[in-house]
Symmetry: C2
Subunit: 449 residues, 2 copies
């Protein structure tokens, strides 16, 4: 028996019949009261009953026969969802000021543009198309045009592979190029694990003031190097031209992976060309990402393969699909081709330049702390006097509700050394995600240490 209570009446009628039908109290093909009858019986508007019936109809609980009315559908096969509340996982306690190098600024993100583009892409969604395993071709065209303009080298869309993050791109490279890999130390801290899982031989080589040490490299048999020449992660060092040519001209070097993860943001007047732009012997595998340039929320990375690896790639990988959904790929294509990406980058350059300036200025009152690696990207390095230790800085900061990251977190060595007495303790300081206000407050607190 349906008892009308205060609240949305049409939902009460709907819920009542839904339950009666699911539990079998109303069997298949039983006739429902006419809309007029029900409206009279409960003294409600006929419109209200209509709303309830059309919801039941739409969800498959009843069917209609012309001039005969509404009947209970056979719901034996229906899946009845029991929507659960989104419970949150127990949250890890976060500190008030987090100087993480991850993430991008909220302020400049073009929410409206992405809402509009997404709506268009969804309206135009393709449910059939065999997605291209290498990535959506028009997106690869846009990336090729961008690289030409912004990074100064010319590649064909056929050389570009789109994926969901560098891990997946590295797994492809590991299948294409055998041998011993040289990686940077400190460097991208997940690389050793990804290599171990894939049973790849590697050596970790130290970074000096010009990047990966060639002297150290020449003492190994490494035939492929993974480097971040534009803004070494995490030290921020720019690899100089002499080092670059030495690396490329080294006879043993079969390939160099250039991870250009944050090259969009430069603050010095000196341009930093891509290694790929002087790659006359087609040895450089160029890797890029939209995680810093747009947002990590999209999870889109790409790489450019040398021509010499294309055949092998196509033979091996045509059985895989591109892990990035066609929807995301079309959204990015539209974002770049309409010139919105250009606008966005120009806007963000100003935002980040200003934030970097705030950090640099804040440390002017502390001449004992040296800032390095600040010519580009979204983080820089603070070198403390030797009487500090990394652990001490991190612990003290925590007491002030501040999260900072010691550079030893990014060691990639198989036998990590303890902090040495003769090196300056260093902190990797990201400045992208906090607002200018938060950044100023956080720095004021941090400088109390």
């Amino acid at each position: 028996m349906l008892i009308i209570e205060p609240g949305l009446i049409y939902l009460q009628i709907y819920n009542y019949y839904k339950k009666e039908i699911i539990t079998g109290n109303l069997p298949s093909d039983a006739k429902l009261p006419s809309k007029r009858q029900l409206a009279d019986q409960y003294q409600v508007a006929i419109n209200t009953v209509e709303n309830a019936y059309s919801k039941l109809l739409e969800e498959g609980f009843i069917y209609s026969k012309q001039r005969q009315g509404y009947f209970v559908a056979d719901v034996g096969e229906l899946y009845i969802a029991d929507p659960i509340e989104n419970e949150q996982q127990p949250e890890t306690t976060t500190l008030k000021y987090d100087f993480s190098y991850r993430g991008v600024a909220k302020e400049g993100f073009p929410y409206k543009t992405f809402r509009k583009i997404s709506a268009n892409v969804i309206d135009d969604i393709e449910h059939v198309a065999e997605p291209d395993y290498q990535g959506y071709y028009p997106l690869r065209q846009q990336i090729a045009a961008y690289l030409q303009k912004a990074r100064g080298f010319s590649v064909k869309p056929e050389q570009i592979i789109i994926s969901s993050g560098s891990e997946y791109l590295y797994q492809i490279i590991f299948k294409l190029v055998g041998g011993i890999y040289a990686i940077e130390d400190p460097g991208y801290q997940m690389l050793p694990n990804i290599m171990d899982i894939n049973q790849i031989d590697y050596v970790s080589l130290p970074i000096d003031e010009n990047g990966m040490s060639i002297t150290a490299l020449n003492k190994t048999n490494a035939n492929i190097c993974i480097i971040t020449p534009a803004h070494q992660f995490p030290t921020g060092i720019i690899m100089n031209m002499k080092r670059r040519t030495a690396l490329l001209n080294r006879t043993k070097t079969d390939y160099v992976v250039e991870d250009d993860y944050d090259s969009e943001f430069k603050y010095s007047k000196q341009p930093v060309p891509a290694l790929k732009s002087i790659d006359y012997n087609d040895k450089v595998i160029y890797m890029g990402s939209f995680s810093k340039a747009i947002s990590p929320a999209f999870r889109v990375s790409f790489m450019v393969l040398p021509e010499s690896l294309l055949d092998r790639y196509q033979n091996v990988y045509s059985c895989f699909s591109c892990p990035v959904s066609l929807i995301t790929q079309k959204i990015l294509t539209e974002f770049i081709s309409t010139g919105e990406f250009e606008k966005h980058l120009n806007r963000m350059r100003k935002i980040y330049a200003k934030k970097r300036q705030i950090v640099v200025e804040a440390f002017q009152q502390r001449p004992d702390i040296k800032i390095t690696g600040s010519d580009g990207g979204l983080h820089l390095v603070l070198q403390y006097p030797k009487h500090y230790t990394e652990a001490q800085i991190v612990t003290e900061a925590k007491k002030h509700n501040i999260k900072v990251y010691g550079i030893h977190n990014y060691t990639t060595s198989k036998n990590p050394q303890p902090e040495l007495k003769d090196e300056r303790p260093a902190i990797v300081l990201g400045f992208a995600t906090m607002t200018e206000e938060q950044l100023k407050e956080g720095l004021t607190e941090f400088l109390k240490i």
Copy 2:
């Protein structure tokens, strides 16, 4: 010199100054005419000039000083996009009627709902959060609730792993479970390639009228089987209960991968429970996907790991990110938790039941052709009389502008046998993507063969 032509005047002003600035004709810090001056000079509304200037300002070409006016910015570091047209790749010729098993129907897709949900998710985008490598927790909760309700087994969100397609899930399984894999023949035709790339030992075992042959399985040392028990791909055979228990109780079976790729759609009254629902010894790795239930355009799949594999998974995979973007994961979470997924499935069941009926009825006039595997899913199998050959049917269909797929395309054997004289030639016929109208037309044409 700016010459105003018919068309959007503010854009002409904008383009003129943009070009002058980029080419260096207007140097850094040069002062622009005031808005009033420019409006007077060209006899246009001051609003028009304002629009042009604010676009230049927004994109970083000019800057403003209070009470002094507008000046040319230093654009040496700007990235100037040269938007290229989206050229299409040379299209492969498509036939008018494509009975592919891939893809879903356009008719029932809730465009409006997804537009709305996407807009909300984009407004709420997180640019910082460390994404969960196992997948967004609330989405895993929703999937767990769905599996409980729709497939009759109970798992914890902690057992669920979200990824972009089964290839990526298989690569995880290969790292977790060693040994010899048994796969179905015919079956998912990409599996052998994916296994070869990962250097996995496997055997292809024949399918009989109840699924993978246990007799054949027992002649091998396979310790892990990959099967599609609910609607074998591509034969559509349902594995019977006896075969299921035999498979699970077999001493040598360490794990069984149950790929439940299209179980959402059933047309017979007989329910087909998931193998996982009788998995009393925690041996079943359950694999599901939203490709059939929603659309392949999202590229979201998931698997449920037995408790025994969880530790190993977490040790190995925490260095990888989930390849599905957080945006897509939040959209799906919202789609399920609001009950829209329930509605969608109920709507699609009717659409597909009707399409299947159209196919079944069309072949009633051809008693020489037997329909099998049509109790569920989005494709069925046509068994032709022995005087046909698969190649002949496919070629003849092509002449009628129809694309159909011979079952031998799905062989997974390392030594594929030629079509045998004593077996009936068979066609795998998908019916999801064409409209009812197209389906009827296409079948009328196809039946002329």
